[in-house]
Symmetry: C2
Subunit: 219 residues, 2 copies
């Protein structure tokens, strides 16, 4: 019975996510869902990405946190539209929470909407929000075994951004092993190796992301 | 309705956790529930702790993972009883899962049972398993804002082990700020600052943990 409750919740969420997606498509808006463990660098990557792209791409951000609005405040300093969702304990964002933010945005004035999920390597991967694709960050400090131990997020993501590579000299961790393990779980992953601290590797991510933004809005 | 389902699940779990606890108490067994984000160092801390204490304290371990048995294999190499729980997707351990392992242990031959939870800074804090106390690890690489953003786990834990302090010279993170923020959420936290890699700070943790082990088993 517990399983059927969970299944019903996921199916209801999928329907809402599809409706969100239809609205995003109608507005010609590209949306991605950014997920990771706590502290892997989601907000830092967003800050860097906004600085790099904001003259070329009209960006908006939805910040998901259990409580607090620190991340939304960091993003707001960049001068782009940002809406905070506080889940009040819930471990992930869902389609309804995203829907509730629509009234706060003017989608006609955006090209790219980023949904920064709650920091959690498990639950957010189960809940679609209407995104075009999911992107995940893994910090090299988390170790080599994460793809095997938390496979769903690696499986669901289109992109894996391996962050904090500036720390590799001080860790007993191999970047090659991380990539090999991730590709075992999902051979289709596009992988970027970056340091949000030093900026290393970020240009390739910016270029790739710009290519994902939908061209040709509907009239 | 969704909320009442969650409430019913939590209440049912609390009852089972209480029953587990009664069994642990009857056997004079000390139990703690070890929680953290993925890759913060739960298994590494356990390996070090087993090496340090196994001649003085009879230890057993329950390993919780979504899938895979890598951690249980690491612990088994230490020659102590270990049981793997694979949650099959679930983001935390609960009382029933712990109950299901009892047949695998001889509790009369144990002093201390450690439950290593699924790597997740959110959900495990909501589910009691019958433990005497909860302990959490935070890696300094996760940043200073985690107590504010994930308060429940800090609130529910008796002990905070701050790990990977050997990396502090390479991070823009202050140990003092982490401690200050954690104590704002829970002023009763006992805090240890350690590096499982270098061994720094671990002796204080071992001494404290030995003091927690129940003395005087029932006849």
């Amino acid at each position: 019975m517990k399983i059927s409750v969970v299944k019903n919740i996921l199916e209801a969420n999928d329907r809402i996510a599809q409706e969100n997606r239809a609205i995003f498509d109608q507005k010609g808006l590209t949306v991605f869902n950014l997920m990771s463990s706590p502290g892997a660098g989601k907000t830092s990557l967003l800050e860097k990405t906004i600085d790099a792209l904001k003259d070329q791409v009209k960006l908006g951000v939805i910040e998901g946190d259990i409580q607090s609005s620190q991340d939304a405040e960091r993003i707001a300093q960049k001068g782009i539209p940002v809406v905070q969702i506080n889940t009040g304990g819930a471990c992930h964002l869902d389609g309804n929470m995203i829907r509730d933010t629509f009234k706060e945005f003017n989608f006609d004035d955006l090209d790219l909407l980023v949904v920064e999920n709650v920091g959690n390597l498990v639950c957010p991967a189960e809940f679609k929000v209407g995104e075009d694709f999911k992107a995940m960050i893994l910090s090299v400090t988390e170790g080599e075994d994460k793809p095997t131990k938390y496979p769903l997020m690696f499986h669901e993501s289109k992109v894996l951004i391996i962050n904090k590579i500036d720390l590799l000299p001080y860790l007993d961790v191999s970047l090659e092993t991380i990539k090999k393990e991730a590709l075992k779980v999902n051979p289709h992953l596009t992988i970027f190796e970056v340091s949000c601290k030093t900026g290393q590797g970020l240009d390739a991510w910016y270029d790739w992301l710009k290519e994902q933004v939908k061209t040709g809005r509907p009239a």
